[in-house]
Symmetry: C2
Subunit: 330 residues, 2 copies
Amino acid sequence: MADIARMTGVSISTVSRALAGSPLIPEATREMIAEVARSHGYVVNPFARGLRMKRTQTIGVVIPLGHEQRQLISDPFFLEMLGHLADEITLRGYEILLSKIVAPKPGWIDALIQAQRTDGLVFIGQSDQHAALNASAQSYDQMVVWGAHLPNQDYCTVGADNAYGGYIATRHLIDQGRRRIAFLGDPSLPEIGQRHAGYLRACQEAGLTLDPRLDAPAHFTAETAAEAADALLASGAEPDGLFATSDVIAMEFIKALGRVGKSAPTDVAVVGFDDSSLAPLVSPPLSSVRQDLTAAARIMIDLLFRRIDGELVDGVQMKPELVVRASSSL
Amino acid sequence: MADIARMTGVSISTVSRALAGSPLIPEATREMIAEVARSHGYVVNPFARGLRMKRTQTIGVVIPLGHEQRQLISDPFFLEMLGHLADEITLRGYEILLSKIVAPKPGWIDALIQAQRTDGLVFIGQSDQHAALNASAQSYDQMVVWGAHLPNQDYCTVGADNAYGGYIATRHLIDQGRRRIAFLGDPSLPEIGQRHAGYLRACQEAGLTLDPRLDAPAHFTAETAAEAADALLASGAEPDGLFATSDVIAMEFIKALGRVGKSAPTDVAVVGFDDSSLAPLVSPPLSSVRQDLTAAARIMIDLLFRRIDGELVDGVQMKPELVVRASSSL
DNA sequence: CTGAAAGCGCTAACAA
DNA sequence: TTGTTAGCGCTTTCAG
């Protein structure tokens, strides 16, 4: 910037003001300075700017993976959500700082905040970090979390009504005449816990007795989901319906069915969750509970920017909807 | 940091040195200072640090979308690659700054470099920005590009041998007895151009006469691919084989086949590209040219860090391999 | 081993 | 309208 000042024969302040579009600088001068800067490929250093202004024009997108053993981002949900968030953030002229947190250490969120690299934080999923999120939200407002709305929660969440999603999925299986409906997912995660509650409610309403073997834990990676599916089928639980808490888990279960000479929907009617882009493409096409991630990302970023502007807006819960395909109906 | 200095009763310099792990500071003092910092949730401001050190501990991941009308990141290839790159960068303790460039303006790469927000740049795909990449590479070494290796290219690329990939895909279709083999893709992109060349070579070697109607342009979004597929089928070209330059395009073509009462592989044998995670799951399972993105990401980041260390390493070309599934063999 | 002081590139009073 | 100057929070000579 000093160089540009020297070349144009004005002071550094004038260059700064011109490049920032200050109305104090006459049109002609501004143009001239901008032209010199452009022709020399000069761009303001956002570090120095941020240091001074305490604004970074950057949003942090955080993927907490406290619940997963493997460190790879494998479920397409994260990537689809990330893509949509990236689109929304870019649209507003902000940069994106992407952080994948594999093994959250105490105080990790505060460290992220203290580093002051970002003007706000979006979390894709709560993982098992509810307490940490709650603690940080006490003193920091510029964050929005995708996930479940929990009681006594001090941070802002956007998420599907998971209990309702679990309910309509299970209800649909019951309507198809299925009686031994299994659940595949990890209820220790808040979102999954709520889907599980919806599943239980639907079963109870229908007067189904729950065989505990039908209620099986499963993680989000394809490998662990495959193991869980094999275990469920080997347990003697003999399910005739399955509500899986992600499309990947559902698809792995259908593959596992094939390994024991059975198929969906004939032997087991299957419903997944997310309605990811592959759900309609697999064989059989997968019934799934749809969450509108495009809308979700837009809402999250909208709320985040309003929070950055000091407006303490509340979270939003979205109604998911069931998309019925061949995997669950004969 | 001034606060921490005050609390520990030492100077700012000492705190700085202690927190940076300087050997000048005795173990005991260092521990004490670190403890005070930790208990107060203090974290060094990377901006101020970067401003001083001229190092950011950040890698820029750039997705240039000059070739696409739509601004959404839709093809799973980008997201899978992004996921792997994120894993590799995180592994090395660097941050990730994600930039999606929708409408590249002249000088956009230099602007990215000049902003000095990152220590290095990874580009996912060349898009139509070969000239711009070449120009910037003249004066900036810390970049690695996923894409085709082009003659007279001054930047470092990692990519599959696309010509070979196109060749083995087409060759396989010919070996299946197909004679009217169509191509679906946008050859104006460097990678696709090379796949197209491989396609042509295989056709010529087999003595096939090329009906120009078989050679159809298609973009990477599902919507435009669907249109292109419909157009190809309506053109009277009557293909009995198809090499599609992405899995999404291949799947859209298979859907389009269904719309005119035909199917794969009976009427048209289909091969895609990328072997994305959905290829084995769709119906019929999709034959595809596999690029190992895990390895690719590792290599790209490895090369980038060596370049950051001043070693001007060359790019790498990887051998893709054909994965044959039901969509191309009866 | 430790501290004082300069300066990284920028913005924003305050003066002129 | 423009320039001077004082920091933003950090690292790093240079002197002790």
